[in-house]
């Protein structure tokens, strides 16, 4: 098989199998018409439209966008990157959930074990933590870029409000996650943070009591923050993101040009 003919024979066979696969019913049932993965779709304007239109992507993107909107210098991709970081945080977070128990003292020791006993455990934890910090930054910068473009002006006023809610939810997600390592940093940062909330004039103490699950942080707080962090807040932010993206399109696509 080492001689030239043999290699050529294998190559041809592989190529033949490839084209057989790409023409098969199974393949064509997965990739809808227009997809570049299909053997029968060339790079025509119509197929370019089909790539989006015949695809789950159509839920996020229209077929065409304004030319200035695709310029990197307009959105700086900040909204998109915030979304991507959210996805990444979901994936890494699910990984972490396999190794983490929200009880004291298990939580702390689970994270220690993650660093030593789990393949790529520390790397994934690092990505989750730095990704979370980055997401706060990208969301904040996204808001800033939207402001400087005046992109909150009619008809986009309400999407700005949805955006502020997303910013709040992002901060809350980050804050509830902060407690989970159950180390000195987590405990006292969250203590300082929730003490601030307790100063609220009317319901401050009640809200703080409900969030923390008592007058001060205990192991119960850990469970409470955990459920908020892995279930409740992601659920709510997903809904608001759906509204946010839908409104971006319904409000006439990306704003501008300036």
């Amino acid at each position: 098989m080492a001689d030239e003919n043999g290699k050529g024979g294998v190559l041809t066979a592989v190529k033949g199998m490839g084209s057989h696969l790409r023409n098969s019913q199974v393949w064509n049932s997965i990739f809808r018409p227009g997809s570049p993965a299909r053997a029968d779709s060339g790079d025509t304007p119509r197929n370019r439209a089909y790539v989006v239109m015949n695809n789950v992507l159509y839920h996020l993107h229209p077929v065409k966008v304004k030319r200035h909107g695709v310029k990197l210098s307009y959105t700086l991709c900040l909204g998109g990157l915030s979304f991507f970081l959210f996805i990444l945080l979901t994936v890494t977070g699910i990984f972490l959930m396999f190794y983490y128990r929200p009880t004291s003292p298990a939580a702390y020791f689970d994270l220690q074990a993650l660093a030593t006993d789990v393949a790529f455990g520390q790397l994934v934890r690092n990505m989750h933590r730095w990704g979370a910090h980055l997401m706060v930054i990208t969301v904040f910068l996204h808001m800033t870029r939207v402001f400087y473009h005046g992109a909150y002006k009619p008809p986009r006023e309400f999407n700005w409000v949805v955006g502020i809610i997303l910013l709040l939810l992002t901060l809350l997600l980050s804050f509830t996650g902060y407690l989970l390592p159950w180390d000195q940093l987590a405990l006292w940062a969250v203590t300082v943070g929730s003490n601030m909330g307790a100063y609220a004039p009317v319901f401050g103490e009640q809200v703080s009591f409900i969030l923390v699950g008592g007058v001060q942080i205990t192991a119960d707080t850990l469970l409470r923050f955990y459920v908020l962090h892995v279930l409740f807040l992601p659920f709510v932010i997903t809904i608001f993101m759906a509204v946010h993206f839908w409104r971006v399109r319904k409000d006439g696509g990306i704003s501008g040009p300036l």
Partner: protein, 296 residues
């Protein structure tokens, strides 16, 4: 020519007769393109006066007069007349007045006008002919209010950019995570508060404010007010322009707040040490545990 159903013709003839104050039969006959009944000539003085007697003895129609009277175009009257004659196999009535210059088909109208036999020139059997009813002025059925825009396909132009941005972000994050570990300090101890105790970095601007104001103000009023103010920006800023040169005030205000919160956050993160007292990071060290693993 499309034939109106009898009942519709009747209805419009009745209306017309009422409007003109003429007997119904006359109007009906006219509308049908038939000769008016004999007695009708006297009852319709205008039509009778205008209708000279034909040399051939048949009925004579003054199409110009009828046209003016009924507000129907002469060509239409002519066409109706020809069609009726063709259908009934009768001779076309003689016409008073000028031979229509705009007769529907010159070749067909000319012999008819001089009393020749009606040409049998209908469409061949099985062919449907169309008649132009009216010309509607050009204009879209749906009004388009949007200007055409310069657009590009999302695939490949936008998706390619997004994909690259995604890869760059993933690469950065992976690199950072490969080299900098997330901090994990000692086990949580309720009896030993570290000094300083700092909130997560995105709240350090607020914690910094706590050093200047009453906790009610710094911890509650300012952030609540700040969030509400942010939400109300679109409803307060009534200026429709998005050009930076038109919105100097808005940009100035936002920039002041943006810079202030950034400076407060940086200050709280790096310039506060034990007891949340002021420190110089280069002289006294950095008390910022979020980046502890990076700084060690």
């Amino acid at each position: 020519m499309a034939q109106l159903p009898e009942n519709l013709l009747r209805r419009s003839a009745e209306a017309r007769a009422k409007a003109d104050g003429r007997p119904f039969e006359v109007v009906m006959a006219e509308m049908k393109g038939e000769a008016p009944p004999a007695g009708a000539a006297a009852a319709a003085p205008a039509a009778a006066a205008a209708a000279p007697v034909a040399a051939a003895g048949g009925p004579v129609r003054d199409l110009d007069a009828e046209s003016a009277k009924f507000g129907v175009r002469r060509t239409l009257l002519e066409r109706g007349m020809f069609a009726r004659a063709r259908k009934d196999g009768t001779a076309v009535p003689a016409m008073a007045g000028a031979v229509a210059a705009a007769a529907p088909a010159a070749g067909q109208a000319a012999p008819a006008a001089v009393g020749g036999p009606p040409p049998v020139s209908g469409p061949p059997p099985g062919v449907r002919t169309q008649r132009l009813l009216t010309v509607v002025k050009a204009g879209a059925i749906q009004g388009t209010t949007r200007e055409p825009q310069d657009k590009v396909n999302v695939w490949p132009h936008l998706l390619a950019i997004e994909f690259v941005a995604l890869l760059v972000m993933l690469a950065l994050l992976t690199l950072m995570s490969a080299f900098i570990d997330a901090p994990l300090l000692e086990f949580a101890n309720f009896n030993e508060q570290p000094n300083p105790s700092k909130a997560p970095w995105y709240f350090l601007g607020l914690q910094e404010l706590l050093a200047y104001f009453d906790p009610q103000v710094a911890g509650v009023l300012l952030p609540t007010f700040g969030m509400i103010a942010l939400m109300f920006i679109p409803y307060v800023d009534r200026n429709p322009s998005v050009r930076p040169s038109d919105r100097k005030l808005a940009i100035a205000i936002f920039t002041v707040f943006f810079m202030a919160s950034s400076i407060l956050t940086i200050f709280g993160s790096f310039f506060r040490g034990p007891g949340f007292n002021f420190v110089f990071p280069w002289r006294d060290g950095i008390f910022f545990d979020d980046l502890k693993t990076l700084l060690e």
